[in-house]
Symmetry: C2
Subunit: 93 residues, 2 copies
DNA sequence: ATAAACCAGTTTATAATATAAACCAAATAT
DNA sequence: ATATTTGGTTTATATTATAAACTGGTTTAT
């Protein structure tokens, strides 16, 4: 049986990646809303995805307010697709 | 975003369920081989699946040797299918 | 017959992970 | 001016996964 990438096999990280796969970029607040996670949890999981090289996290400003935006990297995209393939073998899809 | 049943969202438990979905029954030794898990880990995860009502575990004998066989329950089958549906929304399938 | 190795597991200790609570700095509202 | 909200991060705690150590019985070798 194939290994399931432990970085992706986590509800919240998978949800984040799933969103990022479909948009150009998404910011912290949006991801928090969509995933219904707490800020702390999201912050930690974004760090992990970032450390793994699956996403880039950019801190900027919109007016005077900070804005943290995330994008999936090519590596992240590939990892996500491999994860999907691996999962299929478990799900009989 | 849908919740991912935490009992199923675990590599080893999912692998076990995946196997059991396709066979009438499977014994401990077979599951251990197929999943390449350690006996201890498998034992613990089978307990969890059993406590959740997703599988039944039956201890019998074949000659003088003990034999632990597992079967997925109707509840387990349903949970697995719901898990697959939930996951699809994450994977864009 | 007895010890050594083996098989089929279970129990328990440890490592890893996820999650939320507590915190912080800056901006806005009162 | 100070209280509240916003947008996070850090840290402590709860949960989970995993393997190591153990058990009870069996077969094999001596």
């Amino acid at each position: 049986m194939k290994e399931l990438d432990p970085i992706l096999h986590s509800q919240l990280r998978l949800a984040v990646m799933s969103i990022l796969m479909n948009v150009e970029e998404a910011d912290f607040v949006y991801l928090k809303e969509q995933t219904e996670s707490t800020a702390g949890n999201l912050s930690v999981q974004l760090d992990k995805l970032s450390s793994a090289g699956y996403i880039t996290v950019t801190k900027g400003f919109v007016g005077k307010k900070t804005r943290t935006t995330c994008q999936v990297t090519e590596q992240g995209r590939k990892a996500f697709e491999e994860y999907v393939e691996a999962l299929k073998s478990y799900l009989n899809l």
